[in-house]
């Protein structure tokens, strides 16, 4: 089985967020970057598990500059066989989808995985666009996947519930929690990752339809109003009369 896993680099979950250049750009000062957790813990690990079960290859793909090589090497350490980096700073999800589609259409991947969203832009936009560009079925928020030959049985989260779907042939899968269990790369994996191939390709031109105007930070909270534990009635009064939420 031949699978492709799309990975992103995101700020660590504990990062303090600020912007530079009048709100245009993210301030990377003092920020440590990680592989997007949904890509790493669920999408990549499930692809590696399936390879271990039925054989085949796992290719990791990333759109970004050379500073992303660190997270790409981690994907190789976790179990991807090779990696491709499209050498560009992506201005949009559309750009990312176009670059990955350009590469994926030349190969016959059985499954293409990505995380359900990145923890920086939370857009969940790349998967559907990529699937459309490749004319493949797409499943959002998959938390269970079994593969039998060309048949895939998957479960996906929907609002207030879950669906089980059967699909035959290649498809694009966005991975949610529980699709796999997080794996910590072992020493052998880390050593091997340095020798695995990482191919760098140049991007294709994309006409942008959406542009960023600015980023804003939320107004600081005015501070907490503490209520004495013996005076719960006062909290209820504040919620009813001041906040007007009950």
């Amino acid at each position: 089985m031949k699978t492709l896993v799309c990975i992103s680099k995101t700020p660590d979950t504990t990062s303090k967020i600020s912007f530079v250049d009048s709100g245009k750009n993210f301030n990377t000062d003092g920020i440590s970057f990680i592989m997007n957790p949904y890509d790493e813990w669920y999408a990549l690990v499930r692809a590696v598990e399936l390879k271990e079960k039925v054989g085949g290859t796992v290719t990791a793909i990333n759109v970004g500059d050379a500073s992303n090589d660190l997270v790409i090497r981690k994907a190789l350490a976790i179990g991807a066989d090779d990696a491709i980096r499209v050498n560009a700073n992506a201005p949009s999800s559309y750009f990312v989808a176009k670059q990955i589609a350009e590469i994926a259409k030349k190969e016959n991947y059985d499954l293409i995985f990505l995380g359900k969203e990145t923890i920086d832009y939370n857009g969940a936009e790349v998967g559907a666009q990529l699937a459309e560009l490749l004319d493949l079925p797409f499943f959002s928020f998959v938390n269970h996947l079994e593969v039998e030959g060309k048949t895939n049985i998957l479960k996906r989260e929907i609002e207030g519930g879950e669906e089980t779907i059967k699909v035959t042939g290649p498809c694009v899968i966005s991975a949610a929690k529980d699709l796999a269990q997080q794996r910590i790369p072992n020493m052998q994996g880390i050593m091997m990752s340095k020798r695995k191939p990482l191919t760098v390709v140049e991007p294709i031109a994309v006409e942008e339809l959406v542009s960023l105007i600015t980023h804003d930070l939320p107004a600081p909270k005015k501070g907490v109003t503490l209520v004495n534990a013996d005076n719960v009635d006062e909290l209820v009064r504040l919620l009813h009369e001041e906040a007007k939420v009950i």
């Binding site: 923890i119 609002e159 929690k177 339809l209 959406v210 980023h215 804003d216 907490v224 919620l239 939420v245």
Partner: protein, 317 residues
């Protein structure tokens, strides 16, 4: 020209989220004085009520919404037929799976998770959304002639301005699905977390799943949906779908009551867009108090039953 709003009923009913989207579409259409048309995917006994929210036309078409290929083809064809310049979908599992496909088909700019009515600047649509898991927001300009956006729940209050309308079926060539739906489970009862107005959430402070009764009673009294922190879901004290936070569900209710949750930055990232946050914790140093509007420092096993009783009293007045 028109604004096309796609509505997914759940179990044959359009719920509050659908009427929110109708109001959002109506206000977006008003920016350019165009028609707002709703397209309901499947049967909904209350579809005509969309008219109450100022919609000009209510159409239905029955499709398998779990198939993003069929969903996107249908909406793209409908957009062409109805001359839609803006297509609005809900930012939920099916909406997200279809929106990207629709944008590619219509060569439209896409912005997802929009949380406020856009601003029209000439032919450019300016939209706002949260980024970095709610720690910041971003404004984008969509410059393509057709625009596709998905809208977060609780972004607008449904605004009744008109009367119910007759519902007619939209006639489009049928698209066949290649997928087989084997099973669909839906949880009944409380509102799904992403669209709940009131949420009561518990953390490790409860010490064990056997102590959840007092939280459930508070939630029932308020009519709130229940949630939990990640350690609680990881320990299987509560089901995983209740986990709110950066790697769980992100929510933005009117009221979020966090009980026995310290307020790790990853948890805050999933709840910091809540309009009012109440924190109950015995540790006055809990970081959650810094993000809270109201707080009580105290033992949750004493405070929560008292709070339930006080709310019951208010409801009886």
């Amino acid at each position: 020209m028109s604004v096309l709003v796609v509505i997914e009923p759940s179990a044959g009913i359009i719920n509050k989220g659908g009427f929110e989207l109708a109001t959002f579409g109506k206000e977006t259409a008003a920016l350019s004085a165009t028609k707002c048309i709703t397209l309901v995917l499947g049967n909904a006994s209350n579809a005509g009520e969309l008219g109450i929210y100022g919609i000009d036309e209510v159409l239905t078409i029955d499709i398998p919404t779990y198939d993003s290929v069929v969903y996107a083809k249908t909406i793209a064809e409908a957009s062409k037929k109805l001359d839609a310049s803006i297509v609005i979908l809900k930012h939920n599992a099916n909406g997200k799976a279809a929106a990207g496909r629709i944008a590619i088909k219509l060569n439209a700019g896409l912005v997802s998770a929009v949380n406020a009515v856009p601003v029209l600047n000439g032919a450019v649509l300016q939209v706002k959304r949260g980024v970095y898991s709610g720690k910041a927001s971003a404004t984008y300009a969509i410059s393509s002639s057709i625009k596709v956006i998905t809208v977060l729940g609780n972004s607008i209050k449904p605004n009744a301005t008109g009367n119910a309308l007759p519902v007619s079926e939209l006639d489009l060539p049928k698209v066949t699905s290649t997928l087989e739906l084997i099973d669909r489970k839906t949880m009944s009862g409380r509102a799904p977390l992403p669209e709940a107005d009131l949420v009561v959430s518990g953390g490790r402070g409860f010490k064990g799943p056997e102590n959840w009764d007092i939280l459930l009673e508070l939630a029932d009294t308020l009519g709130a949906t229940t949630a939990c922190s990640r350690p609680v879901a990881d320990a299987d004290w509560r089901p995983h779908h209740e986990h709110v936070g950066q790697t769980g569900v992100a929510i933005r209710p009117n009221l979020y009551i966090a009980i026995g949750i310290s307020g790790a930055i990853q948890h805050l990232a999933g709840v910091n867009s809540s309009k009012t946050i109440v924190v109950i914790n015995k540790d006055p140093e809990a970081p959650f108090f810094k993000a809270a509007d109201y707080g009580i420092v105290g033992d949750l096993f004493e405070v929560v039953p008292k709070l339930t009783a006080a709310i019951k009293k208010l409801k009886h007045e």
